[in-house]
């Protein structure tokens, strides 16, 4: 038991760090995500000298500026006209580090919200199908198979084509969540249905029925708790999958639009070969996503290990 609990700490710490970083973007990022430094497009990461009596940063203009901490509500920064770019700038001279933090908000929140939508839909529909059986079961499961058979990527392109060319960032964000989450309910629904199907045959469910319990009571008190382990494990699998889906869609220009950053549309700028070769710092989101996904997968692993041991 103790050994299993210890396995939860590394992924939880890792994920907590990522989420804290994006939630605190307004404090940790030295610049706003849309702030452009037109004089310094594609500036490489600034050299930082921390081990010094007064830590200083080398600006792309060749001068050095002392780093100031906790000024103007930011963790750090330099006094203008100096600039500090931890991860360089993009073609418009926007700080990649700041955009990475703000863009993480969109990517992580899409993953969480879409997974929540999928799980709520999947749990509700799977429970109804498994508990009541009969035609609702047939309808939901055949419908689910149809959903799985759909080439959802092309469906997505088609849906996007029906909408106006330019939609606001908030609308695009809501659309992303609705589409990713709305398509993904099938797998959790099938898993939950299986658990409910077996769970409703439990002696204690029959006994409660014998005391006169109705379906809402049986589902709420006896059947739904049985599905929690499955739902939890599904969450840790779906969230990283959906974060990747957001990155993919935004990369293709189907997600939130400029100037709002997301890890997907930041990478879109790195799609050119010469960019990758000459401005490697633009790949920062692609590198940031690796430990994030690893965190979720380690958590899923720890959870499944926990279930085997109990």
């Amino acid at each position: 038991m103790m050994r299993d609990l210890r396995r939860f700490w590394p992924p939880l710490v890792l994920l907590a760090a990522f989420h804290a970083a994006v939630v605190l973007a307004g404090f940790l990022a030295p610049y706003d995500y849309a702030e452009q430094h037109r004089d310094f497009p594609y500036a490489p990461p600034s050299r930082i000298h921390l081990v010094h009596l007064r830590p200083y940063a080398e600006s792309p203009d060749g001068k050095s500026y002392p780093i100031e901490f906790l000024v103007h509500g930011r963790l750090f920064g330099v006094r203008p006209p100096g600039v500090v770019f931890l991860l360089g700038t993009d073609g418009s001279g926007r700080d990649v580090f700041s955009r990475l933090l703000y863009g993480g908000r969109v990517s992580l929140l899409t993953g969480l919200a879409a997974a929540l939508l999928s799980l709520v839909l999947g749990t509700a529909l799977g429970t109804i199908a498994g508990f009541f059986g009969g035609w609702p079961d047939q309808l939901l499961m055949r419908g689910g198979e149809l959903m799985m058979a759909l080439p959802w990527f092309y469906l997505l392109l088609a849906v996007r084509a029906f909408l106006p060319l330019h939609i606001s960032a908030v609308e695009a964000f809501a659309l992303l969540i609705a589409i990713i989450g709305g398509i993904g309910w099938v797998r959790p629904a099938r898993l939950v249905r299986g658990v409910v199907l077996a769970g409703r045959e439990n002696g204690f469910v029959q006994a409660a029925r014998g005391f006169g319990a109705g379906s809402p009571y049986l589902i709420r008190r006896h059947v739904l708790p049985l599905t929690f382990p499955v739902v939890l494990t599904q969450a840790t699998v779906l969230i990283p999958q959906y974060i990747l889906a957001e990155v993919t869609l935004s990369f293709l220009g189907l997600g939130v639009g400029e100037p709002v950053p997301s890890w997907g549309n930041m990478l879109a700028e790195a799609r050119q070969y010469h960019t990758i070769v000459e401005h490697t710092w633009l790949l920062a989101p692609a590198i940031a996503i690796v430990p994030l996904l690893l965190g979720f997968l380690l958590l899923a692993d720890a959870l499944s290990g926990q279930q085997v041991s109990t």
Partner: protein, 260 residues
Amino acid sequence: MVPEPLLSVRNAGKIYARRHWLGHGRETTALEGISFDLARGRTLALVGPSGAGKSTLARLIAGFEAPTTGEICIEGRRVAGLQPQVQLVFQEPAASLNPRFTAAEIVCEPLVIQKRGGRGSRARLAAAAMEKVGLPGAELDRHALEFSGGERQRLALARALVLEPRLLILDESFVGLDLSAQAQAVHLLLDLQERLGLTYILISHDLALAGQLADEIAVIESGRIVEHAPAREVFAHPQHPRTRELLEAALALAPGGLPV
């Protein structure tokens, strides 16, 4: 005047029809022409091989299902649906307890479902029910899994008693208990019967166990009662070949002789 029996079963039958959407379906006769009376405070054992229809009869009496033919009356009123005065203690008590629940939640559950009383009165009733079956009230916070097999059976019994039933149907409730736990359970049931004036229907395939508890024994085979007599009578002069078979099986397992 003969007192009105607590339970009266008149010509009850149950046919399960498996309908096919193209017309002809198959019918299975589970019970046929079952009639008997059971007086207050008595114990009837329904004995028979697996699949004879014992559990179906239990479900009909408890009101889980309606009989296809005939009628079942409790205290002169026809059974239609579930009723609190008849409680069924399920096969394998361990499986009928939700492992996530505490003893208090388990024992209170019938009250919660029936929306009886408030939190305080439920807790009092649960503690009283635990007391009745000889489990200390201090154990109300423990989870079902933490109890031993015999204790779980008592827990299931306490849960059935909390609604203050008149008739308790024990459907193979002793399966999976070791002999000493079984003996304790028999003792407890006899004690409860004396104190609370309960009537029991004991369902078992074990004639030896039936002999320890029952006043009368009914042997069921293929959905019919083939022999129904006082327990002593059944042991002394078994009439039906099936009864003799069951008796021999019971004797073979109890070389010291039957406790009747």
